[in-house]
Symmetry: C2
Subunit: 560 residues, 2 copies
Amino acid sequence: MKLLSLFYISKLACGILVNPLPKPVSIEWNDEGQKKFNTNIELVMDKDDDIVFEQFYKMIDTIKSLEWFPAATESPKAEYPPVPTGPPSNLTKRQSVESIDNELDQLRIKINDMDADLQFGVNESYHLVVSDNILIESETIWGSLHALKTLQQLVIYEDGDFKIESGVEIYDEPILSHRGVLIDSGRNFLSLEVIKENIDLMSLAKLNTLHWHLEDTASWPLEIKAYPEMILDSYSAKESYSQSDIKEVINYARRRGVRILPEIDLPGHANAGWKQINESLVTCGSGWWSAIAAEPPPGQLDISQDETYEMIEKVFDELNELFPDTYFHVGHDELNPSCYNFSSSIYEWYEENNGTFYDLVQYWVDRSIPIFTKNDSTRLVMWQDIVTSENATIPKDKILIQNWLGSESIKEMASQGYDLIVSSSDHYYLDCGFGGWVTNNTKSAGSWCDPYKNWQNIYSFDFYANLTDSEKDHIVGAEVALWSEMVDSTNLITKIWSRSAAFAEASWSGNKENDEIRVYDLTQRIFNYREYLVALGYDVDPLAPQYCWKNPHSCDISLE
Amino acid sequence: MKLLSLFYISKLACGILVNPLPKPVSIEWNDEGQKKFNTNIELVMDKDDDIVFEQFYKMIDTIKSLEWFPAATESPKAEYPPVPTGPPSNLTKRQSVESIDNELDQLRIKINDMDADLQFGVNESYHLVVSDNILIESETIWGSLHALKTLQQLVIYEDGDFKIESGVEIYDEPILSHRGVLIDSGRNFLSLEVIKENIDLMSLAKLNTLHWHLEDTASWPLEIKAYPEMILDSYSAKESYSQSDIKEVINYARRRGVRILPEIDLPGHANAGWKQINESLVTCGSGWWSAIAAEPPPGQLDISQDETYEMIEKVFDELNELFPDTYFHVGHDELNPSCYNFSSSIYEWYEENNGTFYDLVQYWVDRSIPIFTKNDSTRLVMWQDIVTSENATIPKDKILIQNWLGSESIKEMASQGYDLIVSSSDHYYLDCGFGGWVTNNTKSAGSWCDPYKNWQNIYSFDFYANLTDSEKDHIVGAEVALWSEMVDSTNLITKIWSRSAAFAEASWSGNKENDEIRVYDLTQRIFNYREYLVALGYDVDPLAPQYCWKNPHSCDISLE
């Protein structure tokens, strides 16, 4: 044992191979020596929980079937110039240790509050100790699920054994309560299969919210029983979601610690679906798009008419039943004043109320929010336009504001006391950089939010920049967003992953160490994580030539 | 019959649903009426050919299993503002015709020269007539293969029958002899499976050359029997190509009308593989990359040493046996003078010859080209640097120059009489726009050749711009290039396709109609083609929201 300890002290000095992502808030390797991980490990809980059971057995299955050995590992940069005498170093294979005394036979999971619901703000912290056995302590089920994802990444397979490299103790919890990925089934349809695949990938990376932009002007793929005609504006019968499909996704996500935040975009970006109910409640839907809408087809709800409110009330009564999350996203981006020039009813409203477009928006807010929040506990998310473009007065305690315009607007809103979800297009919009999709457009090759956001760009975003401490407290969440103009089931996964692993870490434990952006520190961790995802069967984008991760930091831009 | 004819005249006036890609040089629909396509059609040839047989049966299988009906069809823009009374029009379903008199029972293929080899410049023209039966006439087998791909796209499935919409006559031939896609198995490995999948996609789009950049500084995945140690620089034993793998790909491609143009990049971009033979023949391979190489790892062949020429002679003797194509690409991009400061032998060469870097390059040209072209019929391709950066004197009759720098260099080279393959990075580099892959790089988010090249950017490239007629004649080929820094088998297909269909058409029948870039005309054709590829089982990128192709030209940037 003495010898083993010495070996491990020296090994620890030169680094552990395993490098879990997202990086835990606190991880301490000790010198207890290498541990053998028994894949028949006993699970002990004071009180059983089928979600934890399921995820525990998934973890064991993954560990056993994958037999993972780290692909990209950390090591200091090579020294230059002394000429190396061999080929580029391959994976650092250590000397194997003949026998390991410690076998980890028991995993004890202690959860304080088995009933805490998966909702915004639920405690997700966990404490994980690998010593003579394995202990997970957490306040809630959801914290334990995160601990299992960490544990899964700690186990490696080497010389015929499943092992953990050393005793270790982890304290971990997210810096943001809401860590999300936005997907969009309005521009193009997304299959249930690919949505579930993305949920699996989110869960492994400790992301906890799937923001599902369900529909848009172009199509309405969602079954509404009160208005069965809405689904006629899905792209086809096969390309639609029944309410039982939705429940299936909600349940699938919940069992993996992922909330579903539904979005119905109102009153702009509204045409498909609504026009099937009553075409006269959609204004400008028949105009040529470019002067009256952010994108084709145009269309906004006519918010001057009583029938509009009756219509949305019926729809939201049903949707609030369907979606269990406290939060509902009700859109409100890119409302276009010119579109309302098509409506004689709105002309009349302007005259009768001696009002402007901005008054009309306030009228919409005052009349629609009580409908959306009929259930007292319901909270809303709205795009930032409602405050930064239209300066409307809204109930701050009931509404989270989602940022999407440039990051400079964050301070403006935080200083005004809005609670924020950050998803600035200049760092977190995953659809940027693929060129314009609008047709007959030979001149402009760029997309509006160029450039493409690569993993280093995503990771480096300092959304706390220039904020006071009290302003920082208003940032309660963050999301990366993949809008679907050029996305469908064929390429959703490859466009979100593997780069979003950088976001997952930034929103979990942050992107800084000692006040410095830790991209250098992330490099080998994310390269290894990408190979891990490929080994799990996901076709996710490579981030560099294989040479780069086999030779740590050899592809850095500068030697220092 | 009279009635049918009338129906078809009126239908022809409003357009045929089928819209093959690439657009043929000449296609004339007549008023002979709808034809029923017998999937047990008899194939008649004067002389049998197993390649044509195989591709014929593949075509029949595809037609039968796909039961294709056009997804995106052409129609005039909707008129605005008159308010439409229904939902956005779905696929234009025509009235079905109760009975069709004509059944197409025979396909006659007449090939003049059954022996013409698949080489640069081979005649690829074809004549296709659908009348009482189907006739394909071509000079060579390779022209007939193209005709089969066109025919495959003409057949649609409607109301339980396979049909061709009307009699039709097509004369077709490419404007460029060399229409290629560059793939790169040097930065990251590419599986045989994905290379073959790409060949299938190329063949369907009438692209005839796979430019295979086999290796680079980072890895050497190719078996060389004379130097078995070279393969030690593959990323792993599984990630390498045996010579029988290579033969399998060559044969697979040939049967689909696709040449394999191999590239071994010399004397720059040379480190992996070569250093296993003799490390002292690779200079600067051990330095820090950023000042001495375009990308990590650095390394160039030491072209001052005799042993270098002996080494490449052995390698090329073997490779010229392996690859049947007349052409061999020998690289020569981005040679870095500073790298040669690491070699004492080159210092001596400079002194002894009272020479400069440019003299040394000329020495390389004069000594290496006879080695590469030992076989009298061998022809070479080299990157443009040899003439535009180093101004070397080269045998113009033996060498095609491949352009990759900005399109403005095309005129310079064409005016000097070089025969050219155009692949300007500002339109044809498919790897651009994904951000930098070099690590520890938090500031710069762009890639060197931003922006991303979308289908409209690719299609609109006028590589004949500002050229005289005689300069135009020097453009003999074009390629799109997908370099592999951020590509491997997981995402090769989705990054090349569907946008490269625009390139396939531009290099086959051009991108202009009446001197105008015909992006408008391509829109519905390429949207349909993308859906066709998805129906065939390929996960290729969508180019727009489904709404756009279901409502032709509704997503144009301007109404005119």
